[in-house]
């Protein structure tokens, strides 16, 4: 890379010590910072969705293997009232994790 690269190297100056740069320094690679954040949203959504698919597949396989579940038991299940608050809290945390990136916009 020789001379050209060495000249380039001189322009590379590390910016910040150990702490991560504050969010306002997050680079925007796309035409609007919102688009960058939407990519984060899309990736987070994909990760959450895949984790759920993977967990459901694991769970259903175990239950079917062990003869615990009939094939239609999940489709027919209803949560009772006592279970609802934790189900709500889980959904709230899910939404915050999924769309929290939007809240980083300056």
């Amino acid at each position: 890379m020789g001379t050209t690269m060495q000249q380039d190297v001189d322009g590379v100056v590390p910016k910040s010590p150990i702490d991560m740069p504050p969010d306002r320094d997050e680079p925007a690679f796309l035409p609007h910072p919102l688009m960058d954040r939407l990519v984060d949203v899309a990736l987070s959504l994909g990760a959450e969705l895949y984790a759920e698919r993977d967990r459901r597949r694991t769970l259903e396989a175990i239950l079917v293997e062990q003869g615990v579940l009939a094939a239609d038991a999940i489709e027919l299940h209803r949560f009772n009232e006592a279970e609802q608050p934790s189900r709500d809290a889980d959904r709230i945390a899910f939404v915050q994790r999924l769309y929290g990136a939007l809240n980083k916009l300056q």
Binding site: I18, P27, L43, E52, R55
Partner: protein, 368 residues
């Protein structure tokens, strides 16, 4: 989704790879690994083609390969795929770190206890100086890892799970480190009593070197105390008798002529170029006459990297600017054999590895 039932259980090991704290972590890291594979394997080749096409359309020589970086950036700027690729690469990295780190921190006391237990079990194999002062050059969140190697007590755990994603499935069982150990040059007289893995990180190479040289006393040294503590715990768990020292590559504190073999795996591209000479001088000092030094790292100037395609240089620039690799461009511009020779070592071989890496082997001249 919160999965409190699985947060407190030990999910055990998969060979030498610890399973993540939860199945959710495992699934999401696998997802990000797949996203990374997509970005590297499918998006990047298209981006490289588009860069070359723009360079050719502008009648630039060498398909744009030798453009100064500012011009290379300008060439890429109008390409929508350029922004999308950079965004996906950086975001998958950030999101993967955040996911695994938050899960580990939720059980921090448990992991701290594991580290303490390993030190209690074999205190004679971990060597730390309470007066050690971490140099500023090491205080960067390399690869965007929050806290970097020195600022997070669980950095070893975070690094191990995070680099599983980075290595794209090729190092789950330390395969790459075992391959590296096989490419370490042994002294011509065959005598190997002590081996040093300088810049050992979490000790995957250190244990691989012990496999390669089972009769030798093998040491790992690193600037990151959390990495050294995790490396020690990992070796204790595996029943491998190796030593770890918290220290500096440029000032190891070992006696003159102490080692027969030294390895530096991906150390040099993560330290400032101003330290290159002092590190090689220190390695020369701790090697006995006829002892060998092997550097395994990214391809550098001597490897023909001055003919890197425009896309590869664009990636290197991205890594430096946006993946917190502040020192890698200077290393890539370095002639490694020349560095070794000017510091009194004899270069024996320099060549490509079967992996994406490059290795250079040298020896300290024997006393005549």
């Amino acid at each position: 989704m919160n999965t409190p039932v699985s947060r407190s259980i030990d999910r055990c090991m998969q060979g030498v790879l610890p399973r993540t704290p939860t199945l959710e972590d495992e699934s999401q890291l696998a997802f990000y690994e797949t996203v990374r594979n997509f970005a590297i394997g499918e998006m990047f080749p298209r981006l490289s083609q588009q860069l070359v096409a723009r360079a050719d359309a502008a009648k630039l020589p060498d398909h744009g390969a030798r453009l100064p970086l500012r011009q290379l950036r300008a060439l890429a700027e109008p390409l929508p795929l350029s922004g999308a690729w950079k965004r996906v690469m950086r975001s998958q990295q950030q999101l993967a770190w955040d996911k695994i780190r938050s899960s580990l921190l939720a059980n921090a006391a448990r992991y701290e206890a594991e580290l303490d237990a390993a030190e209690c079990a074999h205190p004679e194999r971990i060597h730390c100086d309470p007066q050690f002062v971490t140099p500023d050059y090491a205080k960067f969140p390399i690869h965007l890892q929050p806290g970097g190697y020195v600022g997070d007590t669980l950095a070893g755990y975070v690094f191990h799970h995070g680099t599983k994603v980075f290595y794209q499935g090729f190092n789950d069982q330390d395969e790459l480190h075992i391959l590296n150990a096989q490419h370490v040059r042994a002294p011509a007289d065959g005598k190997v009593r002590r081996v040093l893995d300088v810049g050992c990180s979490i000790g995957q190479g250190t244990t691989a070197l012990k496999q390669r040289f089972p009769a030798a006393e093998v040491w790992g040294l690193d600037v990151g105390l959390p990495l050294v503590r995790y490396a020690h715990k990992r070796a204790v768990d595996q029943g491998v008798e190796v030593h770890f020292k918290h220290g500096l590559a440029e000032d190891t504190g070992f006696p003159d002529g102490h080692f027969d073999v030294v390895l530096a795996y991906i150390l040099f591209h993560e330290v400032p170029a101003r330290l290159f000479d002092s590190i090689v001088t220190e390695v020369r000092r701790v090697l006995r006459p006829g002892g060998t030094f092997t550097i395994i790292d990214a391809p550098a100037a001597n490897s023909g990297s001055d003919t890197l395609a425009a896309g590869n240089r664009f990636w290197l620039d991205f890594d430096s600017q946006y993946n917190c690799e502040p020192y890698s461009p200077a290393f890539v511009a370095t002639d490694v054999p020349e560095l070794l020779q000017r510091n009194g070592l004899e270069v024996l071989h320099s060549g490509a590895m079967p992996s994406f890496l490059w290795h250079t082997q040298a020896q300290k001249p024997a006393i005549k």
